[in-house]
């Protein structure tokens, strides 16, 4: 029976699942909205795999994204890795001589600087979500343009309106103001794309040496307007991998494959976990002033994990604990 490897990226906005075969081809991928219910969505994804691919033999599993710990616990993954490393791994697989990765996702944006195939520097947006997917989503909705059409609309403009891109809230007021003045929609959208790129390069890319080849990945890479704005500002071509929207999941599945090969087994619990009932319980611990919110995950009748406590009392109470570092 053929071996397959699964990579799962549980992000704030989307949960992506990919299945690789032995030759690193992507045989299946799924882009699901997380909608604040990571466990349900994960189960739905596994259910889809069974329905569409049958009970395939998965020999290695990796998780990444902000929900990686939770997903890792539920799946029993071989690798739990942060998304920066995963994006670098998949981009290097896409283009071995890559020097810069621009990644813009739902809630965060990052820049990863690679030299000679090694991550030498990276940065993420700090306390501001301006210029990320969620903001674009919201503006598209407000302007009544489907998000899929957003980029194409921008490309039709040749006279951008200047939008203040420093802060998402102010950018929105600025946009509304420009709308009221009567500017047409494609000019505003194209202006917004430029503002986002300006904001990204000034905040996330500040002080970084951006050399080509440049890869652009993450959900926002679907937006041709942003791509064009990057190319005009950086004065060079920006490459978008075929699977730009699931690159984190691809990266972690490659890592999972390597790890499973190394230890010659997998800790994956099997696809049938989509039938198991998971319950998440919040407990507020009142033993000290910290009032930690403990999260307890139950797998049918058993307690799978507890975390969220500062002192380790709850975490340590379970035997065979998973390191949540």
């Amino acid at each position: 029976m053929a071996d397959f490897y699964m990579g799962v990226d549980v992000g704030s906005v989307s949960t992506n699942i990919v299945i690789l075969d032995e030759e690193d081809n992507i045989v299946w991928k799924k882009y699901l909205r997380t909608q604040g219910k990571p466990i349900d969505i994960l189960k739905e994804g596994l259910h889809d795999i069974r329905k569409e691919l049958g009970d395939i033999n998965i020999s290695g599993v990796g998780t990444t994204g902000s929900g990686r710990q939770l997903a890792g616990l539920i799946l029993g993954s071989d690798v739990v890795k942060n998304e920066i490393t995963c994006h670098a791994v998949s981009a290097l697989d896409f283009m071995p001589n890559i020097k810069t990765i621009i990644e813009i996702g739902g809630q965060d944006s990052k820049i990863i600087i690679i030299r000679d195939g090694i991550v030498v520097d990276f940065a993420m947006n700090t306390v501001c979500a301006a210029g990320t997917g969620s903001f674009l989503d919201r503006q598209a909705f407000r302007l009544g343009v489907p998000i899929e059409q957003f980029g194409k609309t921008a490309l039709r403009s040749d006279n951008p309106v200047r939008i203040a891109g420093r802060c998402a809230v102010f950018a929105e007021s600025d946009m509304i103001h420009k709308q009221q003045l009567g500017h047409n929609q494609e000019d505003i959208i194209w202006g917004l794309c430029q503002a986002l790129v300006r904001n990204y390069l000034n905040n996330v890319g500040k002080g970084k040496e951006i050399l080509g080849p440049i890869a652009f990945q993450g959900g926002v890479a679907a937006n041709e307007g942003i791509k064009r704005a990057f190319e005009e500002t950086l004065k060079q071509e920006v490459f978008i991998p075929e699977n730009f929207d699931v690159m984190g999941a691809v990266g972690v599945s490659l890592l999972a494959k390597a790890e499973a090969k190394r230890k010659k087994s997998t800790s994956f619990k099997g696809l049938n976990i989509s039938d198991i009932n998971y319950k998440v319980k919040g407990i507020e611990c009142n033993d000290c002033a910290n009032l930690c919110e403990i999260i307890e995950i139950q797998e049918d009748q058993n307690i799978l994990a507890r975390y969220g406590d500062k002192c380790g009392k709850w975490t340590n109470a379970i035997k065979d604990k998973t390191k949540l570092a």
Partner: protein, 369 residues
């Protein structure tokens, strides 16, 4: 007079015992918690830096426990801290709390006033007693910093790093019920013994990271989301550029010349930042170079959102990173308590450092062939 003071890492342990030796009643604030932050943000100006908000929270929680006098140090550098005491007093006044503030301003702001404040706060009956208590206080500061650092080292080397957490948690609980200097020292000795008994893997060669940046954020674990512990569990050996011990050495023990380490940092920072920019901006740049020269794998700068001196330092650090070939990451902390993004950055940074070290070793190996 029931004295309290704002939290700054483990300083309360020494501060409490020191004041108790002098016969004062001390009510240290409860350990910083979510409630502290909530109270602080509710009553502080919105754009104020995070340490101020924690201070306010600490005061209110201490006052609830009966404190009526607040001790705090002053400053006159170009950083908001110089204005903390004045603003804090006025906020507590507005809230209707009747508390007295005793501010220890630097000596060049007036010797007499400092002396007055000291004798008022410390209940000085004889200077012999003060010196004796001071001696003990100094011993306690050094010892508690030593324990913190020992815990950091043990975490990096231990087979089970969570054991260290258990010991430290137990220690902090016992501190709250221990009264006086000698019993405190005894407790610390016990903790030292249990920490030393933690089994370690001597073959490990952990990644070494220096923590630099704004003093409060470096020292107070509740503000920096326990960065030492998090890195420790990843098997990273952490050293902090500023500790209460280093502060006292620089500002008190070696007054007016300053400590050797800090003076060296000034010298190292000089080509980049020749003058004072307030707070510890200059020291931050100096510390980054200091750790690079000591052969550390990487450096992490910590600052509370909109901290002015650290913003100056932050803009210089990329140049230091290039000149000394040491990765430097900046983490900004604010009221957020969600840790996912924070963990991602730390993990990715440690990954980067590990790869870099591997490459260095492999490179050398290849060269050897």
């Amino acid at each position: 007079m029931k004295i309290t003071f704002p939290h700054l890492g483990n300083v309360y342990i020494a501060g409490k015992a020191f004041l108790e030796e002098l016969g004062q009643e001390v009510i240290p604030p409860p350990r910083c918690s979510k409630r502290t932050l909530e109270l602080g943000t509710k009553y502080s100006p919105e754009t104020m830096c995070l340490p101020f908000k924690i201070n306010i929270g600490n005061y209110i929680e201490s006052i609830e426990k009966g404190a009526d006098t607040i001790l705090i140090t002053g400053s006159c550098g170009p950083c908001r801290f110089g204005y903390y005491s004045v603003l804090e007093q006025s906020i507590l006044d507005d809230l209707g709390y009747e508390v007295e503030f005793i501010v220890f301003d630097p000596i060049y702001e007036g010797v007499r006033e400092l002396k007055n404040n000291i004798s008022r706060a410390l209940n000085v009956k004889s200077y012999r007693k003060l010196i004796k208590a001071g001696d003990l206080g100094w011993k306690l500061i050094k010892k508690s910093d030593y324990l913190t650092q020992l815990a950091n080292e043990k975490r990096a080397y231990a087979f089970n790093s969570y054991l260290v957490d258990e010991i430290m948690e137990d220690y902090y609980k016992k501190v709250e019920i221990t009264v006086g200097g000698e019993p405190m020292l005894k407790l610390m000795d016990q903790v030292e013994d249990s920490l030393k008994a933690v089994k370690i893997d001597k073959n490990k060669n952990p990644i070494k990271v220096g923590i630099i940046g704004e003093i409060y954020t470096i020292i107070e674990p509740s503000v920096n989301l326990e960065i030492e512990r998090k890195l420790g569990h990843m098997g990273v050996l952490v050293e902090k550029s500023l500790t209460p011990t280093k502060w006292v050495e620089h500002h008190v023990s070696n007054f007016p010349f300053g400590s050797k380490e800090e003076n060296e940092k000034y010298k190292l920072a000089k080509p980049y930042i020749p003058t004072l920019v307030g707070g510890h901006g200059r020291e931050t740049v100096g510390s980054a170079i200091y750790y690079a020269k000591k052969g550390f794998d990487g450096v992490i700068q910590l600052l509370p959102l909109n901290c002015m001196p650290e913003i100056v330092a932050k803009s210089i650090l990329p140049t230091v990173q290039n000149d000394y070939n040491i990765p430097i990451m900046t983490l900004i902390v604010d009221e957020m308590t969600g840790e996912a993004g924070y963990m991602t950055r730390l993990e990715a940074f440690v990954d980067l450092l590990e790869r870099k070290r591997e490459e260095k070793q492999n490179g050398r190996f290849l060269h050897g062939c």
